[in-house]
Symmetry: C2
Subunit: 301 residues, 2 copies
């Protein structure tokens, strides 16, 4: 299987279509990467670009994007509803296949250094790539946003991991990180009682005593006259889908409520579903090497 | 996702290495196909070649193989322990991804006709490609083997689907078919009592009242002091893995025996495992379009 790293930079431009096109093209025109999605939000004045490739190609594409953003975005004129610290606000690297989290951590550090060296934009490492526990949480780095950070850094606070103690005059700063893919997974319950979905959401999510890598809330599905436990699974390796699903089933049973279905929103790595099949089938060895399509991809390299 | 058809021709040569190499190369050198495996058996005097590609490429590669086999194999001199009717004995086409069984049936018919037209080897359609129910079963076509068929056909019996009423003087005949991939799946039980594995095998297999597409037998695992239900699942669409596994679990429970593990042998299509995950997670829509790796393969076309 080829090495696949997903990269999801968020850039601080969601309104000027010509600028967005230039930014996206800087990724698209880099060899070895594949653009999967672009989503611009006018109110946030922000664009989320999703692309994949091997580590060297992703590095080149992300660097090309920062170079383009430095030329076309002035943070002193930027307004929008989403917190941000720079022209390219965040660049997370996400391991998908044939790449470890350690490799993504290392690649995030190399990218952060290269952005400082070649674009003079100071950079912070966050998430799994953070150098200190405090910086794992992006919101700590982003506190006060561009305007606040611009004042704080020259005062000696929140020093960048790469760069001098002042932000780039127009492009601000960039946070580069590593994280596992988010899996958006919803479980539908055979009841109209939202209190039950809320109670189950509380049972499985970290903030109220549940699993470490689960965010969850109860949602009403008006049309279906059902309720839903709507979740983000932030680490399918440590907190796998099947474990969360089984707890939801057992909690629902306590109220006499059936699980009537589930849905996956967006993309997830094949491995997350193979792990699910392996757990339920009690396989003694991982099934991934037995998937014919995976064999093809290995052989075609 | 690209179209993937698996083709598993069995050729009547398993001893002369130079001939085997020529036969395999005729496949390997065809554009658009990927050779996955070659297995020669000296006693059977037979080689099983496994390759994949899209339908047009598989057609070309199979035809190239037959041409080569006609040149290098004389059935009048062939001896071996496995039933066979020709230099290329059977050519099954197996749908893996982005191709329907109907398309494979049609492709089998086109290949069978092309083999007759361009190599003068008469051909039979079998399995899912059979034109009559009798010919679904390969053993009916192969009865009496090459030597018997050579006599029967000129007498007006078992006429080929393509070709005149006589076999090719040296290459005999070829059976071309379509079938779903076989999945070799074994379930291990926490007991030394082989009678329990035998009883469960009988419960799930077609021949004794079980599922239509399951072959099963009990096996003793001496080293582990356990027994196993060893299976071939011949149609994972109509008789899915999870259904067979759940019946085995419930039959084992009747004897107070736990399922301690399972194993997949060889290759299976990704879809068989996604179907398993979807069933256990009760997904309301198939997960295949949500697998990031599948998205890549589509976009790269």
């Amino acid at each position: 299987m080829p090495q696949i790293v997903q990269c999801v930079p968020n850039v601080s431009e969601g309104r000027r279509q010509d600028v967005i096109t230039q930014l996206v093209n800087s990724v698209r025109n880099t060899n070895g990467v594949l653009l999967l999605d672009t989503a611009s939000d006018h109110d946030h004045n922000r664009t989320v670009i999703t692309f994949v490739g091997d580590l060297p190609s992703v590095h080149q594409a992300a660097l090309a994007l920062v170079r383009q953003a430095v030329q076309s975005i002035d943070m002193n004129e930027h307004q929008g509803g989403h917190p941000r610290i720079g022209a390219v606000d965040v660049i997370p690297l996400v391991p998908i296949s044939d790449v470890t989290m350690d490799q993504c951590r290392q690649a995030a550090a190399e990218l952060a250094e290269a952005i400082w060296q070649s674009c003079a934009v100071p950079t912070y490492l966050y998430g799994e790539a953070a150098l200190t526990p405090q910086r794992q949480n992006l919101s700590k780095i982003r506190k006060g946003q561009y305007e606040g950070l611009k004042e704080a850094v020259p005062r000696g606070e929140r020093q960048p991991d790469f760069g001098e103690p002042r932000l780039h005059p127009t492009a601000g700063a960039t946070a580069v990180g590593a994280r596992l893919p988010l899996i958006a997974f919803n479980v539908n319950l055979g009841t109209e009682d939202k209190a039950i979905a809320d109670a189950i959401a509380k049972a499985v999510r970290l903030s109220s005593g549940g699993f470490r890598h689960v965010k969850a809330m109860g949602v009403t599905l008006e049309d279906r006259r059902q309720v839903q436990v709507s979740m983000n699974l932030e680490n399918y390796v440590q907190t796998p889908i099947h474990r969360v699903f089984e707890v939801i089933k057992s909690e629902a049973a306590r109220y006499g409520v059936p699980v009537v279905g589930s849905e996956i929103v967006g993309l997830m790595p094949q491995q997350a579903l193979l792990d699910t099949a392996d757990w339920y089938l009690q396989t003694e060895h991982p099934s991934a090497p037995h998937v014919l399509e995976n064999r093809l991809r290995t052989d075609q390299e």
